[in-house]
Amino acid sequence: MNANTRSKWLAALCLVPFALFFIVFEIAPLVWVMINSLQSEESGWGLANFTKIFNSKFYLQAIQYSLEISFWSSVFGIIIAVLGAYSLRRVDSKLRNFVNAFANMTSNFAGVPLAFAFIILLGFNGSFTIMLKQAGIIQDFNLYSKTGLIILYTYFQIPLGVLLLYPAFDALREDWRESAELLGANGWQFWRHIGLPVLTPALLGTFVILLANALGAYATVYALTTGNFNVMTIRIAAMVSGDISLDPNLASALAVVLVALMTLVTLVHQLLLKRSYHVSR
């Protein structure tokens, strides 16, 4: 064995601890979930768990609510993030850096603390709820509803959207807008034919990440409703760590459905990306 192959072997040996930890904490649990989703207590191996999910109004409602909340919060989140990121690019650098840094910090303001802040401000006796009621803007507001959750989710999507979209505007060069103007294009025409097509890949990519982020979210909705709102992540957790009706196999099946949904979204994204306009750089 010469020195070179020996150093290669030594180098490969350095990979072993990493591989070990990665398998124990990431791969093995995932494989367990996939295998056990195909097994049920009553009928052994097969698709029984999945038929149960897709024949149950309760689980279908969880899937539907998960999708609705994720979709709308991603739509609102990305709209606010696009407007914000674009304007951030066009204000003086002092204000830009400050707000950018602040968005960075608020991206950590999610989960339990965020839910609590919203309960205090927008809950039944929240100070904003009372303020808005007294001003006559709203009649009644229920934070613990689908609408409430969409607002809450949108809030944690905004900083993430801004972080992801801000660099995307690099692709849109200033001289293109000037050239378009010189050639007689108005603002709308510029965005319709140049701006949006150039930004499309970044917008799609960000939208997919926001969707996945919302689909997998658990802490926020758990803290807000103490696990009483019917979305997929809450159902999965309730079946493995709840006080009643433990069913890890059914939980695995629902988890597989969740991962499958996220994979589907990513595949659609890849497909759309291939068909969209690309900037050659």
Partner: protein
């Protein structure tokens, strides 16, 4: 495309940025006011200001315990991450560059698989038997390593590419250093700042992790987030003080990372 604009268009952009700032600030600001008011219910303005909620919080031994346990778990998992990821990156980039493509797919896994899904398998695999870890901080340290992995891997890879690893190693070896010496004395110091930024940012999001902590461990080794959730039935002012204290801590960390990052790019 970044140029400050003047005139009415400039005003529009400034207004949008201020609105964005206001949206992001509002919940935090409201919570801050709530945490320093003596009572605030059914009125538009609080009736008086006080620091008693903070004093009560910071003298609660259960809070201090949870804070310390959170720190321990986060620091532990970051130490583990560095010990596992640095050699991996070095070996991948220096000896097996082709592995980088595979690694880029593998590190997507912790990102793509929500913690709720992993915890189903983790609970069953390590709940009992020879590898029983559920309910101990050890399982959290392992799980947090997987959460920090994608982020640390990308951040350090960017850094390695910027310093030209191969040239640096060749130059050091030409001057008589062994591979180990070159790696520890030449490459590592060059990565120090990038590593610090990655560690600070990873720390700030690990500190806010709730899903694994609540499902796998819960009150058996209470972290700050779990404590916060368990305090849901106490006074809203008290939980506000807790939320603000938590956010302030994270703010200092991300702010430090920001400053380091700026130093680096200058």
């Amino acid at each position: 495309m970044s140029r400050a604009e003047l005139g009415p268009v400039g005003v529009y952009h400034r207004v949008v940025v201020y609105l964005l700032f206001a949206i992001l600030l509002l919940p935090l600001f409201g919570t801050l006011i709530y945490s320093i008011s003596s009572s605030w219910s059914a009125t538009i303005l609080p009736s008086g200001f006080t620091f008693k909620w903070y004093i009560q919080l910071w003298s609660d031994p259960r809070f201090l315990g949870a804070f310390g346990q959170s720190l321990l778990v986060c620091v532990g998992s970051l130490v583990l991450s560095v010990v596992l990821i640095l050699p991996l990156l070095f070996v991948v980039h220096y000896h097996f560059p082709k592995l980088d493509a595979l690694m880029n797919i593998l590190i997507l896994l912790p990102f793509a698989v929500p913690p709720v899904v992993s915890s189903v398998g983790l609970l069953q695999l390590y709940g009992s038997g020879p590898f029983a870890m559920v309910g101990t901080p050890w399982i959290l340290i392992g799980c947090y390593f997987t959460i920090a992995l994608p982020f640390m891997y990308r951040a350090i890879t960017n850094n390695l590419q910027a310093i030209n690893l191969r040239d640096l190693m060749d130059a050091a070896q030409l001057l008589g250093a062994s591979t180990w010496q070159a790696a520890f004395l030449v490459v590592l110091p060059n990565l120090r700042k990038g590593l610090m930024v990655a560690l600070l940012l990873s720390f700030s999001f690990l500190f806010g992790e709730f899903v694994f902590a609540n499902i796998l461990v819960g009150t058996r080794y209470e972290t700050l987030q779990v404590y916060l959730n368990n305090m849901r039935n106490s006074s809203g002012h008290f939980t506000s003080a807790l939320v603000i204290s938590y956010f302030f801590f994270v703010l200092v960390l991300t702010w430090a990372a920001n400053i380091l990052n700026k130093d680096k790019s200058e």
